[in-house]
Symmetry: C2
Subunit: 194 residues, 2 copies
DNA sequence: CGAAAATTTGACATGACTCAACTGGAGTGG
DNA sequence: CCACTCCAGTTGAGTCATGTCAAATTTTCG
């Protein structure tokens, strides 16, 4: 299994010795999901965190009307997990489904917690990761309130050109909090604007 | 200065020895803000984290139209800070303004970082705090997409009855992403419903 | 008491949604 | 290689939730 991209990712935050790397890798399991498979289903308790080596998944919530709301796209060098369920061990409100064939490295929650005990430095890694995730989540809330649907799409496209290309349009609409029809109208509008 | 509530708050996450508590407290400064004063202003770099002993502040962003968007209300036992600016040391996009006379305990960012070096356990505290904050931020995004304005208000009121009473209605409207006029209409509607 | 701030109310405007029909590819199988 | 289906995307008509603006009312507080 190819662990380089995980080690490389981690090295941006903290330095691990050879032995520490070995401990880390001993707790990790490689897994390949086919397109359409679920990493997590709403109602199940989340037991693992997945580092994406290759592929793409969507994490989303289904509301009482049956409407799907995408929280995040998880691509290479990101983590797929439901943190809420992971830390509380309550049933999850989210699904995580692969929208491409996806290869991941996964830890269980227990292994992750014992990892931070064996290598306290890891605590810092997770703290730094969480800091960034929280900042971007807060900024997204502000954008959702202060921008129109069109502005939100333009911002998304600018920030995530690769995801915009890679993912079906109706999922992007869901991520941005609008209907697929409306996003389609925005796009045809944008073509006229040029 | 009264540090009990901070120590009590921390003890929910980690256990500190007497010496560790002393180190922590040595880095802390008490400060009292009058109603209307700013803890942080948009454009300034955020240098401190404030633990609220007493009072209430709002953190908010002002968009290009001059519209105010409230990210959070910070009350007793919460933290007021702009994490994004704090970790990047870039100018902040947010204001934090006291809406009551507010007493806080504050650390500088440097003291906070040296604290985690002296007391590695503190890393865990911050990790756990961030985990919870991220989970609730993500859930808020989903609610904003899947609930109507009325449902969002009812949820808010149920979860935060004390804030609902304590804070002017137009600020709650801003926090919930609707206009003050519309929230007013929702409330009169709710009275008729009974 | 008086002024400023917050809230309410109503008429009207609009951004975004719903629904339904249509288009156009990408398989799939005969 | 054509016909068929399936899925994503497009388009248009009508509707609805929420916003805008402006005036009236109530509350707060010096």
């Amino acid at each position: 299994m190819n662990t380089d991209s995980l080690l490389n990712y981690i090295s941006k935050y903290i330095d691990l010795t050879e032995e520490e790397q070995a401990i880390l890798l001993s707790k990790i399991k490689y897994r390949k999901y086919q397109k359409g498979q679920y990493i997590l289903q709403q109602g199940d308790v989340c037991k693992i965190s997945c580092f994406i080596l290759k592929g793409c998944a969507k994490s989303y919530h289904i509301d009482k009307e049956g409407q799907e709301h995408i929280i995040n796209f998880c691509i290479e060098d990101w983590w797929a997990s439901d943190l809420g369920s992971l830390i509380s061990q309550d049933p999850s409100d989210f699904n995580i489904q692969c929208i491409e064939t996806t290869e991941v490295l996964q830890f269980t929650y227990n292994d992750q917690e014992s990892l931070v005990n064996e290598i306290p430095k890891m605590e810092r890694l997770f703290r730094k990761m969480l800091e960034r995730a929280l900042v971007s989540s807060q900024k997204r809330i502000v954008r959702n309130f202060s921008l129109t649907a069109k502005e939100r799409y333009l911002y998304f496209k600018e920030q995530n050109p690769s995801i915009d290309q890679r993912v079906p349009q109706y999922m992007i609409a869901s991520y941005l909090g609008m209907t697929k029809e409306f996003l389609s109208k925005i796009k045809s509008q944008l073509i006229l604007d040029q």
